[in-house]
């Protein structure tokens, strides 16, 4: 059930990636490329944190 809340992460991820990329590039193709990289970076980073928390939870 709580996993359903992860859907609310997607609009945030898209908006944050696009706006952040928009403040680092000027033209639209460059913004989109940068946004995809930023989005992947965020997902991987959050995934690593989730794995660490799961491991800590398993051993405590």
């Amino acid at each position: 059930m709580a996993a359903n809340y992860l859907w609310y992460f997607i609009p945030l991820l898209i908006a944050i990636s696009l706006v952040y990329a928009g403040t680092r590039q000027e033209t639209m193709p460059a913004i989109l490329r940068h946004a995809i990289r930023t989005g992947i970076w965020i997902v991987v980073f959050m995934g690593i944190i989730a794995v660490i928390l799961q491991v800590l939870d398993a051993f405590t």
Partner: protein
């Protein structure tokens, strides 16, 4: 692609108008940065529209207002009032620090100030408690208290608060972008050498035009 000219984004061209080179080497003029920054704060994307950077204006408006409006929607319910996650309250027992982030979106968060002023003067909030601060005191019906809002909206109260606060914070980045242009990433690896050579070349050209 990043070139040396990007590193000169804060430089002034011969016309003395602030601006920067975009990824394709085109000079982008930052028209009236202070006005643009103010407009960018007032309505997300308006500063870029004023500077004729239309694509970015639309992108920022859609992303930031999309987050803000969706956050307000999450914090709304017909019987509780609309956009209850955006309100200005700095009273004892209800310090709404989220609002300091939410006001980053400018005008769309301003009704909360009007409602807050009305509540302070003892008047009834307008528009079905749209962005009105919750009532203080015991929970005995309408208008709802903060604890009742949290209870009725449960996790949507936090989600709505988060969405609207992030929208406000993102708009601060946009304000800086309108004021001084994008912060181009540093070139890496081989492109760094190339960028250095291009930068030297640009310096030489600039020196020649200044001598003339």
């Amino acid at each position: 692609m990043v070139t040396a000219s990007h590193l000169k984004s804060r430089s002034l061209q011969a016309t003395e108008q602030p601006g920067f080179f975009d990824e394709y080497g085109n000079w982008v003029v930052l028209k009236d940065p202070w006005t643009a920054a103010f407009l960018a704060w007032l309505i997300p994307g308006l500063g870029h529209w004023y500077q004729a950077r239309r694509a970015k204006a639309i992108l920022f408006f859609v992303c930031i207002m999309g987050l803000f409006v969706y956050g307000c929607y999450l914090g709304s319910r017909k019987d509780l009032g609309y956009a209850r996650v955006v309100y200005a309250s700095f009273r004892q027992g209800d310090m709404r620090l989220y609002y300091l982030c939410q006001i980053g979106v400018g005008l769309p968060a301003m009704p909360a100030l009007v409602q807050s002023a009305r509540v302070r003067q003892g008047k009834t909030p307008l528009w079905n408690h749209f962005m009105a601060p919750p009532r203080l005191g015991t929970d005995d019906g309408n208008p709802p208290t903060l604890s009742r809002l949290c209870y009725e909206l449960h996790s949507y109260f936090d989600l709505g608060s988060l969405y609207t606060a992030i929208a406000g914070l993102l708009n601060l980045l946009v304000v800086f972008d309108a004021f001084s242009g994008p912060i181009f990433p540093e070139p890496s690896g081989g492109s760094r050498e190339k960028a250095k050579r291009q930068e030297e070349s640009a310096d030489t050209t600039k020196g020649q035009s200044a001598a003339r």
